[in-house]
Amino acid sequence: MKRNSLWKKTIEIFAATLIIMVFWYLLAIYVKNNILPTPLEAMTEFFMIFSGILWEHFYISAFRVVISIIAAMLLAVPLGLLLGREEKLDRYIAPVVYLVYPIPKIVFLPVVFLLMGLGNSPKIFMIGLIVFFQILVTTRDASKGVPMQNIHSMTSLGAVKWQIYYHVVWPACLPKILTSLRISLGTAIAVLFFVESFATTEGLGYFIMDAWSMAAYSQMFAGIIGMSFLGLILYVVLDMIEAKWCRWQYL
């Protein structure tokens, strides 16, 4: 059954790709401008350069996104779970979180670049910072929503605090945490493009902007496909984690 659903998913993705290609093709024919190459041209370019120059950029971008999401998750999830359950802690920290959350943190990019230089770290920091708050807020709300009865039932078995977190709070919140990760993924890739589009010579964002400045439109689209591909892979990975860890949700 498991293999079946994986197979089904693959077919679905291919079918969806095909539909998008058809629309893209029609649009390209309609626009009739080399700014918008046909999907065939773009895909050919993509496969030609992927194992060559594109790969390095793809690799560095993937590295940046994955590290920032993992780091943000490792910090935000435990903190969110705690804030949702420990009222005292929450009373001090929640107001700060709610004040900072709506601030568009991307505007601090110049400051971050100035303070952290131009390497990988400011980019990872920027993506991580934005994603951190998304995960934190969702996790905290999920943790607050764990029914008191669940906690009582665990306490009545003689469980101590960490066991309650481990056996109840964490698994109860996991589906919502994964949802927040999925949403964060979209945000992370958008921010990735932004932070890579200047003051660097590595990454898909740079590659796309560079191709644009040289009017190499097929190449630019190869970069765009690369970025979509990156998102798709990470999305599928999250899906697989969910299917494995949250099986109870889909019975």
Partner: protein, 248 residues
């Protein structure tokens, strides 16, 4: 032996205070059973939570075999209304959770839990999730989990309220058997008059908020074979009905 002395509990919330229990005093001998019945919101669950050591009374105290209950799980097991099982754990993992929490290793868990699950007719469902079970099966998993801890005292909060009449009756007999076999001290909260009479050697009738003991009825015939069919059973039910203000 459970002794409760003038238990009172007030819930303090931001704006309003709720007096949930007031001067609840009773005594329950070891191996005896007591059912608690009363209007909704009269503090039955609250009382059970205090006995389980999950809540501290505002005044008064509970003494179980000479000690105040503080760390739950040692001697008492609590079975809750709806949320007792964890939907993310399989039947087996749910049933062995109490032992796991207490630090038993895998082998020990298995040696204790497997026979219990088998006896409760759940052997074929060990790898199922609660969502894949019927209400009655789910409730049996909850009972299995509690029995695995070999408790002296079993506290149940409306364990059968969400079940159909047939399953409900079967499980009532089942609880009676367990009570007899394991010589447990049983405290059962229920909304059903028949269930209170069937499973309580003592029947504690509580009054509306703040919860006080309106009457403690002795029910000496409880547990005798065929009690449900006898005149005394129906007489007891009628008496309860009158006490609870249900018109006949």
């Amino acid at each position: 032996m459970i002794n409760s002395y003038e238990l009172s509990l007030t819930y303090n919330q931001a704006e309003n205070q709720v007096d949930a229990l007031k001067d609840v005093t009773f005594e329950l001998a070891e191996g005896e059973s007591m059912s608690i019945i009363g209007p909704s919101g009269c503090g039955k669950s609250t009382l059970l939570f205090i006995i389980a050591g999950l809540l501290k009374p505002t005044s008064g105290r509970v003494v179980i075999d000479g000690c105040e209950p503080d760390a739950p799980g040692a001697e008492t097991a609590l079975i809750l209304q709806d949320y007792g099982l964890f939907p993310w754990k399989t039947v087996y993992d749910n049933a062995s959770l109490g032992l796991k929490v207490k630090g038993y290793n895998r082998k020990e868990q298995q040696d204790i839990v497997s026979p219990i699950l088998k006896k409760l007719g759940l052997a074929d469902f060990v790898n199922s999730y609660p969502a894949q079970l019927s209400g009655g099966q789910r409730q049996r998993v909850g009972i299995a989990r509690s029995l695995a801890l070999k408790p002296k005292i079993l506290l149940m909060d409306e364990p059968l309220s969400s079940l159909d009449a047939l399953t409900r009756e079967t499980l009532q007999h089942f609880i009676l058997d367990i009570w007899k076999e394991h010589k447990l001290t049983l405290v059962l909260v229920t909304h059903s008059i028949e269930e209170a009479v069937f499973l309580g050697k003592k029947i504690c009738v509580m009054s509306d908020r703040p919860g006080m003991i309106q009457e403690m009825i002795a029910n000496p015939m409880m547990g005798m074979p065929g009690y449900r069919q006898q005149q005394e059973f129906h007489g007891m039910c009628s008496r309860l009905r009158r006490l609870l203000g249900v018109e006949e």
